[in-house]
C-alpha cells in the first residue's frame, strides 16, 4: 500500500516547490539586508510582490508574438516539473522515473531557450543583449552541471536522482573526495544559473551588465509574476538538487509519516542554512565583469571534470 | 574474302577521293566509304565470333578475336568521325581555313589512313605491320599539317621526326625478331606472327629482350608513352579536329596493339615478367607525366591530348600486369577511351568552331550558347575522368582492383594520378560549360549524333556489357595471356 503514499509525496513536493520558493527567496533577501545591516522587508515580501503583479493590467509591445505571451507559462511549467522530479522529502517518487538528471538539465535548458527567444521577440537592444549573455552562460554552465551530475552518476551507477540519493544516503557512509570538487563546481554553477552575484545582480535594472533582468524587461503584470515565481522556483530547485546530491541525509526512503516529518524538518534547516550562506556569499563578493564570466564557469567546468577524474583515480 | 574487301574499300576510296575529293559530295562519299568499311568489318567480326580465328592468303593475313575487335572499333570510329567531319570541314572551309585541294587531300588521306590502320591490324607479318605503321605516320603527317599554319607545320615536323625515329627503332627490333626466329623458321615464314607465336618458347632470350626494348621504345613513341610522348599534344592540338579524334581514337590503339603483340612473343621467350614490368613502368610514368602536365594547358585540344597520354599509360599498365582481368580491363579501356575521347574531340571541335578559338579562357558558357555541345562536353569529360556510370569507370575499377592484387605499391600512385587528372580537367571544363557568356545562343543545334552515339555506347558498357561482347573480350584477353 505504498503507491498512494508515493503520489501523495509527489503532490506535496509540488506544492512545497510552489509555496516555499518565494519564501526562500524572501529569506535570502532578508539575510542580505541583515548582513548589510539594513532592516529587511520581511520573508513574505515576494508573495506580496506576486499578488500585486497578478492584479495589474498586462502591457505588451505591439510586435509581441504569441511565443512571447506563452513563454511565462512554459517556464513556470518547466520549473514545477523540475521540482517534482527532485527527491526533496522522499525517494519513492513515482514521477521521478519520468526523468533523470540529464532530463533535468534538459528541462532547465528548455526553459532557458524559451526565455531567450522571448527576450529577442520584441527586438529591443536590452532584450537581445540579455538573451545573448544568458545563452552564453548557459552553454558554459550546462556542461559543468552535467559533469557534476555525471560524477554522482558514476559513483552510484545511475542517473536517476532517486537512486543516486538512495545510494548516497542509505548505504553506509563513504567519503568521496570527488564530491568536494563536484560540490564546489555545483555551487559556482548555481550562482551563475540563478543569476546571483558575482555573475549577475538579481536586484538591479538599467545596468548594462544585467542579464536575467534584461530578458524580462518587456514583461509586465501576470507574465512578469509568473516569470519571477518561476525563477524563484528555479533557485529552490537548484538548492534542493544540491541537498539531494551532497547532503542527502534526512530524505525519507520509506513512506512513514514520521520519517516524512523528519525529512520536512531537515529540509527546513538545510534551506535556512543554505539561504544564509548564499546571502553571505553575495554580501561578501562583488559582481564581476561579463567578460570574466567565461573564466569563472570554465573553472567550474574544470573542477567538475577533475571531480570525475578523481573518482576514477581514487574511488573506482 | 571479307579481309581483302575490307582492305580494298578504303584503298579504292582513297584513290577515288584523290580525284573527286574536292567534289561537292566528297564528304558524303567519304562517309559512305567508311560506312561500307564498317559494314564489312561487322561481317568479318560476326564470322570471327562464330568460327574463330582465321589465317589466309599464304598466311599473310590473320584475324583473331584480339585484332578483329580493334578492327571493328577502328571501322566504327572512322565512320562516326567521317560523319562528324562532313559538316565540320565544310564550316572550316567557309571560315577560309582550307582550300579545295586541301579538302581533297584531307578526304584522300583520311581513307588511306583508315587503310593503313586496317592493314596494320590485319596483317600477319611483323614487317608489314611495321610498313603499315610507317605509312600511317606519313598519312597523318600530311593531315596534321593540313592548315599549313606555322604551328601546324611545326607540329607535323616534330611528329614526323619523332615518330619516324621511333618507327626506325621498331624496325631494328623487328629485324632482331627476324634474326632470332630465322634459324627456327627459315626465311619466308620467320616474320609471320602465327609462326613466331608457335615457336616463341624457343626464341633466344637475349635477342628477344633487346628486340623488345627497341620495339617498345619504337612503337611506344607512337603510343605516346612518356618520355617519348612529346609529339602527341602538338599533333593533337594543331591538326584538324577530326584528325585529333582519329589519332586519339585509333592510331594510339593500333600502336599499342603492335606493342602487345611483341609483348606476347617476348613473354613466351623470356618466361619472366620482363616485358610486363617494362610496360608497367612506362605506363605509370606516362600516367604521372600526363596528369601533372594537364593543369598547365591553355589549349583545349592539347589538354585532351595529354589526357590521351594518361589513358594510354593506364592501358599499358593494365596489359603490363597481364592476366585475364587486367587484359579484359585493358581492352575495355581501349574501347571506351577511343569512343569517349573521339566524342570529346567532336564536341571540342564544335565549341572551338563556335567561339573561333581553342584557348580555354575564351570559351565560356557553352550551355548558354548551345546546350547540346555543353552537355556533350560536360558528360564526355566526366566520362573520360572515370565517373560512373560510364564505361571508363568500369575498366578503371577492374584495373585498380587488379593492381591492388598484383602491384599493391602502384595503386596509390594510380589513384593520386587519377584524382589530379580529375582536378585539372574538370576545373577547366566546368567554367567552359557553365557560367555566363556574351555570345548569343546559336540558331541551329550542331549535328552531334556521333557524340551522343558514342557516349550512350560508353554508358551502356558501364552498366551492362552484352554477353557476346564480354566473351569476345574474354577470348582476346585470353590470347594476350600473362
Amino acid at each position: 500500500m505504498t503507491i498512494p503514499y508515493g503520489f501523495i509525496f509527489q503532490f506535496i513536493q509540488l506544492i512545497m516547490a510552489l509555496v516555499l520558493s518565494p519564501m526562500f527567496l524572501g529569506w535570502i533577501n532578508q539575510c542580505r539586508c541583515w548582513l548589510q545591516n539594513r532592516k529587511g522587508p520581511g520573508v513574505f515580501q515576494p508573495y506580496r510582490q506576486l499578488v500585486k503583479l497578478f492584479y495589474k493590467d498586462a502591457v505588451l509591445a505591439e510586435n509581441a508574438s504569441p511565443l512571447f505571451r506563452m513563454t511565462p507559462y512554459f517556464l513556470f511549467a518547466c520549473m514545477c516539473l523540475a521540482g517534482t522530479i527532485v527527491p526533496v522529502l522522499a525517494t519513492n517518487l513515482p514521477f521521478a522515473s519520468v526523468a533523470d538528471v540529464i532530463v533535468l538539465v534538459g528541462i532547465f535548458a528548455l526553459a532557458r531557450v524559451f526565455l531567450a527567444l522571448a527576450a529577442m521577440d520584441i527586438g529591443t537592444a536590452f532584450g537581445n543583449l540579455g538573451a545573448r549573455r544568458e545563452m552564453m552562460i548557459g552553454f558554459l554552465a550546462e556542461p559543468a552541471l552535467l559533469m557534476v551530475l555525471f560524477t554522482l552518476a558514476f559513483i552510484s551507477h545511475s542517473t536517476n536522482l532517486t537512486t543516486i540519493v538512495d545510494t548516497l544516503s542509505h548505504t553506509r557512509f563513504i567519503i568521496y573526495p570527488s564530491m568536494a570538487f563536484a560540490m564546489a563546481a555545483y555551487l559556482m554553477v548555481l550562482l551563475a544559473e540563478n543569476s546571483r552575484i558575482p555573475v549577475d545582480n538579481p536586484s538591479t535594472h538599467l545596468e548594462l551588465t544585467m542579464i536575467h533582468e534584461a530578458m524580462m524587461l518587456e514583461y509586465s503584470a501576470r507574465h512578469l509574476a509568473l516569470l519571477e515565481w518561476a525563477s524563484s522556483i528555479k533557485l529552490y530547485d537548484y538548492f534542493v538538487i544540491g541537498f539531494a546530491l551532497f547532503v542527502p541525509w534526512g530524505i525519507a526512503s520509506g513512506s512513514h509519516l514520521s520519517s516524512m516529518l523528519l525529512a520536512f524538518l531537515a529540509l527546513f534547516i538545510k534551506l535556512a542554512v543554505a539561504g544564509f550562506g548564499l546571502a553571505l556569499i553575495e554580501a561578501l563578493s562583488a559582481k564581476m565583469r561579463i567578460f570574466r564570466v567565461p573564466e569563472f564557469l570554465g573553472t567550474a567546468f574544470m573542477l567538475a571534470v577533475l571531480g570525475t577524474l578523481t573518482h576514477f583515480l581514487l574511488e573506482a | 574474302m571479307e579481309i581483302l574487301l575490307l582492305l580494298f574499300i578504303p584503298l579504292l576510296g582513297g584513290f577515288l577521293l584523290a580525284f573527286f575529293g574536292n567534289h561537292r559530295l566528297a564528304a558524303e562519299l567519304n562517309s559512305i566509304i567508311s560506312f561500307l568499311t564498317l559494314i564489312n568489318a561487322g561481317f568479318l567480326a560476326a564470322r570471327i565470333i562464330s568460327y574463330g580465328s582465321i589465317v589466309v592468303f599464304h598466311e599473310q593475313f590473320f584475324v583473331d578475336p584480339f585484332n578483329i575487335f580493334l578492327v571493328a572499333l577502328t571501322a566504327l570510329v572512322a565512320f562516326t568521325t567521317s560523319l562528324f567531319s562532313r559538316p565540320y570541314m565544310r564550316i572550316e572551309q567557309h571560315h577560309g581555313k582550307l582550300t579545295e585541294n586541301r579538302l581533297r587531300l584531307y578526304h584522300c588521306m583520311y581513307q588511306f589512313f583508315t587503310f593503313t590502320m586496317l592493314l596494320a591490324l590485319l596483317t600477319n607479318n611483323m614487317g608489314i605491320l611495321w610498313v603499315a605503321m610507317e605509312a600511317a605516320t606519313l598519312t597523318t603527317v600530311l593531315l596534321v599539317s593540313l592548315y599549313r599554319t606555322p604551328a601546324s607545320l611545326e607540329a607535323a615536323w616534330k611528329y614526323f621526326i619523332l615518330c619516324g625515329v621511333g618507327i626506325a627503332q621498331a624496325l631494328f627490333g623487328t629485324i632482331l625478331f627476324y634474326f632470332a626466329a630465322e634459324k627456327l623458321l627459315g626465311i619466308h615464314s620467320s616474320l609471320l606472327w602465327t609462326h613466331l607465336d608457335e615457336v616463341k618458347n624457343r626464341l633466344d632470350p637475349t635477342v628477344m629482350s633487346v628486340a623488345f626494348v627497341f620495339l617498345l621504345v619504337g612503337y611506344g613513341t607512337k603510343v605516346g608513352l612518356a618520355p617519348m610522348h612529346n609529339w602527341l599534344p602538338d599533333a593533337h592540338a594543331e591538326g584538324p579536329t577530326p584528325i585529333s579524334a582519329v589519332l586519339s581514337g585509333l592510331l594510339l590503339n593500333v600502336a599499342l596493339y603492335a606493342v602487345v603483340r611483341c609483348k606476347i612473343l617476348t613473354d613466351g621467350a623470356l618466361h619472366n615478367h620482363f616485358a610486363g614490368n617494362l610496360m608497367i613502368g612506362f605506363g605509370l610514368l606516362s600516367l604521372i607525366v600526363a596528369v601533372f602536365s594537364l593543369s598547365r594547358q591553355k589549349d583545349i585540344k592539347r589538354l585532351f591530348g595529354y589526357s590521351s597520354i594518361e589513358h594510354m599509360g593506364l592501358i599499358t599498365f593494365a596489359f603490363g600486369m597481364g592476366g585475364p582481368i587486367a587484359n579484359f580491363a585493358g581492352l575495355l579501356h581501349m574501347t571506351v577511351h577511343s569512343l569517349t575521347k573521339s566524342a570529346i574531340f567532336f564536341t571540342v571541335g564544335h565549341a572551338a568552331q563556335k567561339t573561333r578559338t581553342q584557348i580555354m579562357e575564351n570559351i565560356r558558357g557553352l550551355l548558354v550558347q548551345s546546350p547540346t555541345v555543353g552537355w556533350g562536353l560536360m558528360l564526355g569529360s566526366l566520362a573520360i575522368l572515370g565517373m560512373p556510370p560510364f564505361g571508363v569507370f568500369a575498366s578503371e575499377f577492374l584495373i585498380l582492383t587488379t593492381a591492388m592484387k598484383q602491384e599493391p605499391w602502384a595503386t596509390p600512385l594510380l589513384l593520386i594520378a587519377l584524382a589530379v587528372a580529375f582536378a585539372a580537367i574538370f576545373g577547366k571544363v566546368q567554367p567552359m560549360v557553365f557560367g555566363e557568356t556574351t555570345a548569343q545562343r546559336t540558331p541551329h543545334p550542331p549535328a552531334l549524333l556521333p557524340v551522343f552515339l558514342h557516349l550512350s555506347f560508353v554508358l551502356m558498357l558501364g552498366l551492362f556489357i552484352p554477353m557476346y561482347l564480354a566473351n569476345w573480350y574474354r577470348e582476346a584477353a585470353g590470347l594476350i595471356g600473362y
Partner: protein, 678 residues
Amino acid sequence: MSLFNSSIQGLPLSIILDILVYWLVIGFSGLIFIHNRKIVSQILFPLGASGGIVMIIITAASIAHSPSSAILSLGLPDLPFHIRLDALSAFFLFLLGISSTGICFFSSGYFSRDGNFSPGLVCLQFHLFLVSMAFVFLADDAYLFMIAWETMALSSYFLVVTDHKVPEIRKAGYIYLLMAHISATAVLLCFGVLQKAGPQGIGGSYTFEMMRHLNPDSFWATAAFLLALFGFGAKGGLLPVHVWLPEAHPAAPSPVSALMSGVMLKTAIYGLLRVTFDLLHLQIWWWGILVLTLGLVTAFFGVIFSAVQNDMKRLLAYSSIENIGIILSGVGLTITFQSYHMQTLAALALIATLYHCLNHACFKSLLFLSTGSVLHATEERNLGKLGGLIHRMPWVAFLALIGTLAIAGLPPLNGFVSEWLLLQTFLLTTGFPQPYLNMLIPVAAAGLVLVAAVAAYVMVKFYALIFLGQPREVRQHEAKDANYWERLGLSWLASCCVLLGLFPVEVIKLLNTVPGLLLGQATKKVASQANWLFLTPLSPDRASYSPMLFFGAAAIIILITFLGVRLVYHGRVRRSSPWDCGYPMQTSRMQETAESFGQPIRTIFSPFFRMHSELPSPSDLEPHYRNITEDRFWYLLYFPIGRFFHFLSNLFGRLQQGRIAIYLLYSFLTLILLLLLI
C-alpha cells in the same frame, strides 16, 4: 521488369526496386516536360513523395526480417549487380523514405516558383539522386556500390550548380565534386584492400558476400578501415576533409541542401558501419578511440563555426558537420565496445547513433526547407538582414521552431532522445581494461555536452534572428508565408520530429534488429524490458525517461496555470510600444546582428578561428564594422597541398619545352638506359 527477372527473394526487396524504377520513370518523364514548370512541380514531385511513403511502410515492415538479396542482370560480366536488403540497409532506406517524402512535398511547392532553371532537368537530377542513394544502401557488391556512390555525387553536383551563373556556386560545386571524387577513390581503394586476399577472376571477390568471408589480417584490416574512415569521412564532412560541405550545402537549392544534409551525409555513416562491422570481422580498440576523438573534434569545430556564421544556410551546414561529429563519436564508442566484446553497450551506442542519424535527417531537412521558404519570401540569406518573420510567415515560424528545439536537443523532442541515449552510453562506460580509456570517456562526454549546449546557443541565434524581433530590412514587410505544398512538407518533417521524440521505445524496437546484424546475433536487445511509456536503456534503476509523461505533465501544468491565472485574476492586455528601459528612438537596426550574436563564441574560442576584423576608429565619420572568420584548414592544409601540386606540374612542364633535339634526346636516353638495364 525484365531487368529484375533474376532471383529476387522476398517481396519487400522487389517492391523497393519497383519504387526505384518508379522514381526513375518520374525523373525521366521530367525530361519530357522539361520546361513545363506546372506539370513538373504539381504532379511529378508529389508522385515522388508517394514513392517515399511506400518506401517508409515497406522498410518499416521488413526491417526485422532476415536479409533478402537479389542479383540484377546488369553490371559487368561475371559481376552482375548484387543487391541485399538487411536490417542496416532497411533502416537507412527508412530514413531516406522519411526525409525524401517531406522534401518531395516541399519541392513541389518550391520549384513551382520561377527561377532561372529548367524544372524538368532538376526533377530528373533530383530523382536520380534519390535512386542512387537508395542503391548505395542496397548495393551488395563493390562495383554497384561505387557506381551508386559516384552517381549520387554526380547528380547532387548538378543539383548544386543548378544556378550555375553565379561564380561562387560554380566554385562550390567544383570543390564539392572534387572532394567527392577523392573520397570515392579512397573508398575504392578500401574495397580493393578488402578483396585483396580473394581469388583471381572477374567478379572474383568484389561481392560483399565474398568479402565477408575472407578475413584480412590486422594490418590490412587496419588499412581498409583507415581508408574507409577517410573516404566516408570526406563524404560526411569529417575534419579535416570537411571544407566542401559549408560551400556546397548553401549553394544548392534548399530542398537539395535538405536532401544532402539529411540523407546524403548518412550514406557516409552507412558505409562506415557496413565496412567496419559487416565486411570486417575484427575491430581494434584504438580505431574506436580514433573515430571518437575525430568525431568530437569535428562536432566541436562544426558547432563553434556555425555559431559565427552570418549566412543562415552556412550556419545549418556547419551544424550538419557538428551532428555528423556526434554520430561518429557514437560509432567510435560502438567500435571500442565491440572490440572489447561488450556487446550490450555496443548495441546501445549503435542504437543511439542510428537514432541520431534518423533525428538529424528529420530536423536538419526541416530547417533547410524552412530556410528555403524564407529565402523565397525575402530573397535574403544573411541573418543580419532578416527578422520578425514570425508575424509574416507564422506557419514556417511555428514549424521551424519545432525543428530548432529539436536540433538544440531539448526535451521532449527527438534531438534530446538520441543525445540522452548517447550520454547514457558514456555514463555506463566503466569496465574498460585500460584505465586511460575510463578516464577519457567522461572527458569525451563533457565535450559532447559542451557541443550540445553550444548547439542550443546556435539555434537560438538562428531562430531568433530570422523569425523574432523586428524586420531589419524593409523588404520583409511584404514577405509571404509558404504555400500549401511547402507547408505540407514542413509539417511532415516537424511531425516526424515530434513523434520520434515522444515514442522512442517504439523506434528503438524498430532499430533493435540492426545491432543483431552488425554485432553478432548474441547481442541482447536494448530497452528490452521497457514498456512503450518508459525508455529504460538497460534497467529502470539505472536510467529511465518517459517523454510522453513529461510532455503530458508539462501540458497539464501549463493548462492549470493558464486557467488558474485567468480564473482567479483577469486577462486584460494593453498594447504599447516596447519599453526597453525607456530608451527613446528604438529602431530595428539596434537589434543584434549575426556578428554580434556570435561575438561571445568568437572571443571565447578565438584560437580556433582565422579572423580579421575591421573596427571603426573613434574619429570615423561613417564607422563600419566588418569581421571575416575563416577556416584555418584552408591555410594549414589545402593551400599548401595545392601549391605542392602546382610546383610538381611546373616541374613536369619543363619536359615539354619545344626543342625537337631535346625530344630526340629523351628517346635516345630512354633507349640507352633500357639497353643498359638488360
